[in-house]
C-alpha cells in the first residue's frame, strides 16, 4: 500500500481549526484528590503559622504604626539592599551552578564523578562559618562583596543539584539536532540546553534568593545591612517585637510574590523528553584545549568554597589556646544534632510530599496557593519563626513547648520549600500516565500515591530529605529559642564557643558540623537519576 498523506490536500479550508491542544497531561481542571488536598492543606497551614502570628503582632499598636514602619524610608532602603544582594548572589549561583553542572555531567572532565561530589560539599558549611572564614582570611572583604561571596559559596549547590538532575534527564538528541542545524556548542547550549534547564535553575534560584533574604549570620558578620538585619536590630536594639513583625510581614509578602513569579515563568513549557524509550546517555563534550581551564575552575570553586572554611578551622585549632574540648561531649552533641535534624527532615519531607505532588501534577488556583503557602516561612529569619511558634505553643500546645516536637516543627516551617522543591522535581520526572494507568487498574488515589508516585519519586524525595537534613543541622536562631532547655546541637555549641572568642574550642564543633553535613551532601552529589 502507499503511505497516504495524513493531511488532506483536497481542500485546506476543511481542516479542523481552532481546537486548542488539550492540556490533559497537566491535569488542568481536575481537582487534587482529598487524600492529597487535606494533608497539603495541613502543611500549608503549618507554614502560614508565622504569618498569622506576625499579623497579630504587627497590628498590636494599630494599623497606623505598622504602616509607618513599613512605609519608612529606611525600610525601602533595607529592602533594596536585601534584593540587590539576593540578585547578585542568585546570578553568581546560577553561573557557578550551571557551569559546574554542565562540566560534571556533559563533558569529559577528568574525575567528573569526584568533582560532582566535591562541589556539593559547600552545602555543609553554615553561612556564619563561611563568613567568618572569609573575614579571617581577607579582613577587607566585609560589606556587600563579603556577604555576596560568602552566601554564594554556601548556596550555589541549591542550583547545581537540580540543574545536574535536569541535564541528565534532557534528551541529547535535541542538542544534536541543534548542532546539525548549524549552531555551535555555545549557541546550542544557549538556545537548546539552557531553556530546558530553566525550570530546574529557577527553582534553585528561588531557594537561593530566599536563603539570602533570610540569612542573618553572614550579613551580620560582614556588616552588610539587610532587611533581616533590620528585623534583628528591632529585637536586639529596641527590644520591640512590633516593628520586627511588620517588617517580617513585608518579607513574607515578598516571598510569596517571588514564588508566584517563578511559577509564572514555569509557564506551560513542557520539559520532558518527547522521544521514545529511555534517553541515550549524552556523548560527553570534548573539552580539548579547555580541559585545563575547566579543571582549574572546578578546583578553584571547591578550594574557595570548601577549603577556606576548613583552613580557617585548622588555623583556629593551631593558634588558639582554648582547645580544652571534650570528645565525649562532642559525640553527644553530634548525636543530638543528627537526631533533631533527622526528625526535622522526616517531618518536613512528610509535609512536603502532598504539596510537592500537587505542585507537580495539578494546575489552578488551589495548587498554586498551596505551593506558595509552603514557601511563606522560608525567607523569615529563624528568630521570627521561633517566636511565632513560642506564641502558638504557649497558647495551644503547651505540653510540647520547649520540647523536641516543637523544634522539629520549627524546622518544618523554615525548610518546607527545600523538600517541596525536591519532591516536585522528582514527581515531574515520572510521567503522569503511570498514575492514570494505576487508577484504571482499580487503585484509589491514596494507593496510587503509595504504590506508584512515591516509589518512583523516592530517589528525588530522598535527595530533598537529605538537603533538608543538612539545613536543619546548620540551623541556629530557632534552635536556640525552641530547644529543650539544656540541649545542645553542634550549631548552638559553635555559637557558645565563638561567643567568648574561644575559636580553638569552637573548631571541633564546626568541623563536626561540616563533616556530618557532608555525608548527605556527598550522597546528594553521587545521586544520579
Amino acid at each position: 500500500m502507499t503511505p497516504a498523506d495524513p493531511v488532506p490536500q483536497t481542500d485546506p479550508a476543511a481542516r479542523p481549526t481552532g481546537a486548542p491542544a488539550p492540556a490533559g497531561r497537566l491535569r488542568a481542571g481536575t481537582r487534587p484528590p482529598a487524600v492529597l488536598l487535606v494533608p497539603a492543606a495541613v502543611a500549608a497551614a503549618f507554614a502560614l503559622l508565622p504569618l498569622g502570628y506576625l499579623v497579630v503582632r504587627s497590628l498590636e499598636r494599630g494599623p497606623a504604626f505598622a504602616r509607618d514602619v513599613i512605609l519608612d524610608e529606611r525600610t525601602a532602603q533595607l529592602l533594596g539592599r536585601s534584593l540587590a544582594l539576593a540578585a547578585v548572589v542568585v546570578a553568581a549561583c546560577l553561573l557557578l551552578g550551571i557551569s559546574l553542572a554542565w562540566l560534571t555531567v556533559r563533558t569529559d572532565l577528568p574525575g567528573a564523578r569526584a568533582w560532582s561530589v566535591l562541589v556539593t560539599l559547600p552545602l555543609a558549611v553554615p553561612s556564619y562559618v563561611a563568613a567568618f572564614a572569609w573575614l579571617s582570611a581577607f579582613p577587607g572583604i566585609e560589606g556587600f562583596t563579603g556577604a555576596a561571596v560568602a552566601l554564594t559559596l554556601v548556596s550555589f549547590p541549591y542550583v547545581y543539584l537540580p540543574v545536574t538532575a535536569a541535564l541528565r534527564g534532557t534528551d541529547p538528541a535535541q542538542e544534536e539536532v541543534s548542532r546539525s542545524l548549524g549552531h555551535g556548542p555555545l549557541g546550542t547550549f544557549r538556545r537548546v540546553t539552557l531553556p530546558q534547564l530553566r525550570p530546574a535553575a529557577t527553582g534553585g534560584a528561588v531557594l537561593v534568593a530566599l536563603y539570602v533574604l533570610s540569612d542573618f549570620g553572614a550579613v551580620s558578620l560582614m556588616r552588610y545591612d539587610t532587611f533581616t538585619r533590620g528585623i534583628y536590630t528591632s529585637y536586639r536594639a529596641s527590644f520591640d517585637r512590633t516593628p520586627a513583625a511588620a517588617l517580617s510581614v513585608v518579607l513574607v509578602v515578598m516571598t510569596i510574590a517571588l514564588v508566584a513569579a517563578e511559577a509564572r515563568t514555569r509557564g506551560r513549557a513542557g520539559h520532558a523528553r518527547t522521544g521514545t524509550g529511555t534517553a541515550r546517555p549524552a556523548v560527553p563534550a570534548q573539552l580539548g584545549p579547555w580541559r585545563a581551564a575547566a579543571l582549574a575552575w572546578c578546583a578553584a570553586v571547591t578550594a574557595v568554597a570548601v577549603l577556606t572554611p576548613l583552613a580557617t578551622l585548622g588555623y583556629w585549632l593551631a593558634v588558639g589556646n582554648s582547645a580544652t574540648w571534650d570528645p565525649g561531649r562532642l559525640l553527644d552533641t553530634a548525636g543530638t544534632t543528627l537526631g533533631v535534624a533527622a526528625g526535622g527532615a522526616a517531618l518536613t519531607t512528610l509535609l512536603a510530599l502532598p504539596v510537592g505532588v500537587i505542585a507537580a501534577r495539578h494546575r489552578g488556583r488551589t495548587a498554586a496557593l498551596l505551593e506558595q503557602s509552603a514557601y511563606a516561612g522560608h525567607a523569615l529569619p529563624g528568630i521570627t519563626v521561633a517566636l511565632s511558634l513560642v506564641f502558638f505553643a504557649v497558647r495551644y500546645a503547651e505540653p510540647v513547648y520547649q520540647e523536641l516536637p516543637l523544634l522539629v516543627c520549627a524546622y518544618a516551617v523554615l525548610f518546607l520549600p527545600v523538600a517541596v522543591a525536591g519532591t516536585r522535581a522528582a514527581v515531574l520526572q515520572s510521567p503522569p500516565v503511570l498514575e492514570d494507568v494505576a487508577r484504571s487498574l482499580g487503585r484509589s488515589p491514596l494507593r496510587v500515591l503509595r504504590e506508584v508516585t512515591v516509589p518512583l519519586a523516592a530517589p528525588g524525595v530522598a535527595a530533598g530529605a537529605a538537603l533538608t537534613f543538612v539545613v536543619c543541622m546548620k540551623e541556629l536562631p530557632a534552635t536556640l529559642l525552641l530547644r529543650p532547655t539544656g540541649m545542645d546541637t553542634l550549631a548552638t555549641r559553635l555559637w557558645t564557643e565563638t561567643g567568648t572568642g574561644s575559636f580553638a574550642a569552637a573548631a571541633p564543633y564546626a568541623a563536626a558540623l561540616i563533616l556530618l553535613a557532608a555525608i548527605p551532601s556527598y550522597l546528594l552529589g553521587r545521586h544520579r537519576t
Binding site: T2, P6, G24, G277, D436, R443, S444
Partner: protein, 348 residues
C-alpha cells in the same frame, strides 16, 4: 460484554472553541473501534473522559447499563473497570514485568493471581518474561505487556491510546496483529485512538472519524473508505480525487465520462464527484474520452501514483497504476474511471 454509548459529550478548556462539541458514539460489545482524527481533534480528551481522568462539561458516557459520566455523576477511574494502554506502554519502571501485569489483579489468592498473570503473558506471547524489568524489554514487548496488564483484570472496555506510535513500521504490523489477536481471544470491547488511517482501517471493526470535536462518520473501514461522508473524511482516510460533475438519474456526468453514483443524489444536481485514485486508469493518448498531460510519476514499488492535468478542469487528478507503468512526465495520456462514486456539495 457491553456496549459503550457516548452521547452529547462536550468539553472546553477555558473560553474559545470546545475540544469536544456534542460528540456521540456507540461502540458495540466485543468490537474494536478506532477513533481516527488529526491531532487536536479531541480524541485524547475523549479517551481521558471515558477513562474518568477528566470531567466532561456535558454529555454522558455509559457502559452497558452503567452510566459512568453524566449530569452530576462522575465515577472515579478506579471504579470504571476500563483498562488503558497508553502511548509507549508506560510500564511501571520500578516493578517487574509480572508485577506490572498483576498490578490490577486484586482478587484473593496469590496462586490465582499468578495463574492469571501467566495466562496474560502467554496471551501476548511473552511467557517466561515475568521476572524481567521493563527497561530490559524492546519497545514492542513493552507494548504487549502494557496490553496484558490492561486485560488482566478483565475490564469491560480497553482504551488504546496510539499504542503503536512509538514502534518502528516493521514492528508495528506484527504488534498490531498480536494485539488484535489478544483482544479477539479475550472478547474485550476496545477503543483504539489513532491518527494513522492505515492503522485504523486495517485493525478496527469500526472506524469513527473525529473532526472538530464531533464524529464526522462512523462505519466499517470498508464503508468509510468507499462511501465517505464528505470530501474531508475522504481525504483523511485516503487519497481522494474530486472532479466537478452533474447528477443525472443515478450517475454523474463528468469530464472523465459518466460515473455511476452509489447513492441517489437527492436534491443535489451540481457537485463534486469523489473517486479513489485506484478507480482511475490511464488509457492510450488517442483513446476516446478524457485526456491530459502527465505532470509527475511517484513510484512505490508494487504501484505508482501518476498525476495528470486533465483537459477541461483546473485541477490535477492522481491515478494509481501498477508499478510497471511506462508513463513519463510531459507525456499525453488518456484517462478513464471505473466503479461507483459519491457526489458531494461543491462548497465543502
Amino acid at each position: 460484554m457491553t456496549d459503550l454509548q457516548i452521547t452529547g459529550l462536550t468539553k472546553a478548556y477555558g473560553p474559545g472553541a470546545p475540544v469536544l462539541d456534542g460528540l456521540g458514539l456507540t461502540v458495540p460489545a466485543g468490537s474494536l473501534t478506532a477513533v481516527l482524527g488529526p491531532s487536536g481533534c479531541g480524541k485524547t480528551t475523549l479517551l481521558r473522559i471515558i477513562a474518568g481522568f477528566l470531567r466532561a462539561d456535558a454529555g454522558t458516557v455509559a457502559l452497558g447499563d452503567r452510566t459512568l459520566s453524566g449530569p452530576g455523576l462522575h465515577l472515579k477511574p478506579e471504579r470504571r473497570r476500563i483498562g488503558i494502554v497508553p502511548q509507549e506502554g508506560a510500564l511501571f519502571p520500578h516493578l517487574s514485568v509480572a508485577r506490572n501485569v498483576a498490578f490490577g489483579l486484586t482478587g484473593p489468592g496469590r496462586t490465582a493471581r499468578r495463574r492469571r498473570t501467566e495466562e496474560m503473558l502467554d496471551l501476548v506471547g511473552l511467557a517466561g518474561y515475568g521476572d524481567r524489568m521493563p527497561h530490559e524489554l524492546s519497545g514492542g514487548q513493552q507494548q504487549r505487556i502494557a496490553l496484558a496488564r490492561a486485560l488482566a483484570p478483565e475490564p469491560a472496555l480497553v482504551l488504546l491510546d496510539e499504542p503503536f506510535n512509538a514502534l518502528d513500521s516493521a514492528l508495528r504490523t506484527g504488534v498490531r496483529a498480536d494485539v488484535r489477536a489478544a483482544l479477539r481471544a479475550t472478547g474485550a470491547t476496545a477503543l483504539l485512538v489513532t491518527h494513522d488511517q492505515q492503522e485504523a482501517l486495517s485493525t478496527a471493526d469500526l472506524v469513527a472519524v473525529v473532526r472538530g470535536g464531533r464524529v464526522a462518520q462512523c462505519d466499517t473501514p470498508h464503508e468509510v473508505y468507499r462511501r465517505p461522508a464528505d470530501p474531508w473524511v475522504a481525504a483523511f482516510v485516503g487519497d481522494a480525487v474530486l472532479v466537478p460533475g452533474t447528477a443525472d438519474r443515478g450517475a454523474a456526468d463528468t469530464v472523465l465520462g459518466r460515473i455511476p453514483l452509489m447513492d441517489p443524489p437527492g436534491v443535489l444536481r451540481q457537485g463534486m464527484v469523489l473517486l479513489r485514485p485506484e478507480q482511475l486508469r490511464l488509457t492510450a493518448a488517442d483513446a476516446a474520452g478524457a485526456s491530459g498531460t502527465v505532470t509527475s510519476v511517484r513510484f512505490y514499488g508494487p504501484d505508482a501514483v501518476v498525476t495528470v492535468e486533465v483537459d477541461g478542469i483546473d485541477r490535477a487528478v492522481r491515478v494509481r497504476v501498477p508499478g510497471s507503468t511506462s508513463a513519463r512526465p510531459g507525456e499525453r495520456t488518456g484517462i478513464a474511471a471505473t466503479g461507483e462514486a459519491t457526489l458531494h456539495a461543491a462548497s465543502v
